[in-house]
Amino acid sequence: MLNQLTISELTAELATRKVSAREAVQSCLDQIARVDGKIHAFISHDDADALAQAEAADKLLAQGGANAGLPLLGVPVAIKDVIAVKNQPLNCGSKILGRFVSPYDATVIEKLRAAGAIVFGRLNMDEFAMGSSTENSAFGVTHNPWDPTRIPGGSSGGSAAAVAADETIAALGSDTGGSIRQPAALCGCVGLKPTYGRVSRYGLVAFASSLDQIGTFTKNIRDAATMLSVISGPDARDSTSVPQPVPDYTATLTGDIKGLKLGLPREYMVGGLDAEVKAAVDAAVKQFEKLGAEIVEISLPHTDYAVATYYIIATAEASANLARFDGIRYGARVDGNDPIELYSKTRGAGFGAEVKRRIILGTYVLSSGYYDAYYLRAQKVRTLIRQDFLKAFENVDAIVTPTSPTAAFKIGEKADDPLQMYLSDIFTISCNLAGICGVSLPCGFTQSPKLPIGLQLLGKPFGEEILLRLGHAYEQSTPWHREKPPPDPR
């Protein structure tokens, strides 16, 4: 079945002309029809538009387009509901955008289209990317394909579940504190968060502008490298994108990691780490050693302060970014007697509980009398956290950690305890504060129930090539990424 293929497998099949892009899209749509009633990875999908794109791809394939520098020609890629796709709905998992339809394509969408991809679907997410479980969506909860009574992780839970359940070949998501890596870990796929500035964010709805980054969900590391080569690069429409050359990331996948130094932070192997997760990560570290990497214990002394720092900086930035949702220029509106009443009522009715919680916290830490005590102090601690990493990277090529302290938890388990939910991001958050890159890849399963476990590799700023090379070599020598969830989720 074509929907089960990786990007490299599908493009090879398409190049032989034995199968068509139309059949590839149809096989994803059939899988959605079969399983998405249980998984609910998609908020919506425009089948006619996807099939029309497929027909255009088939015409190019007939002309030999696959060999003409179109690395994703005919490949279906589904999109998190926080990235603008022209003439498609954009809701960010929220009620407040009403019946918003994007008037333009995000830069990453332009790049995917230019590479021949078939861009389809709106993937479910925690409202405005705020959450770790995809329970905070106005469009309902997404379920984990490995066990539908459990969460898929978040905030890009729809992206991770759709790739894991073979409803798409690949997907885009966004990562502000772990929102790509954590759901990828809990659903058993590969999630890549590029370095801050590597990928343009034009057309990504902003949550926390100094932390947000677009990244990819794929079935293996090679596909992540292919996708990253397509979506990276500077963009005049995003002044934070960095004019750093974009290599062919697949060229780095040599399988040879001999002599690379991997740092194991001692602060990440403590309290709250599930025993099965720890065992799987320990085994992965041994595997890297077997492949010729050198393991070095390192210290990231400010790790314990990352979650607190994050929830000050991210909420402060969110409270400013989300001020634009006021019922004036787009989205839903609740009328009032004056503009202030209109704003308040619109926002009170349109935002969900988690978004309100973060707007209030963010407004508070920026408010008069508290700015220095919270926001400015957090920015200083952020410097210390970033210095920890830069210092560690003087001695190691990459850092290896668990992605999440536990496997997927039950739906509802942490819904009423926001602080516990925040602490589940403890291993992923520092990466965004430091602005470095990270990838999560499958490294094993819990016994009963069988749930995926994710391994996180963290790299230097613009050090994606080394992460991908390490991940690829590991993947070549282990079976985890080939495992599939049960075919009929119950």
Partner: protein, 95 residues
Amino acid sequence: MASAEIDVKYVAHLARLALTPDEEKKLTSQLGDILGYIVKLKELEVAGVEPTAHAVPMVNVTRPDEIRPSLPHDEALRNAPARANGLFIVPKIVE
């Protein structure tokens, strides 16, 4: 500081966010817990540490000042909740 409490009603006004009395009550207690946690940043000595606003700082990013295609007027208004004559309609601001 551990007993810090947010005046949710006041902050909600700053944020232009209408809350029900139930929401106010719940937020006061939840945010009290979260503040009790983030107060741990006070343990650290940060005198002399420069704040980080962006991890990969880019300064004075400019582009040539040239006219380029932009969103057509109709497209920019397409998602407006209320519009007329090519304008957004808002409640009366000045008496």
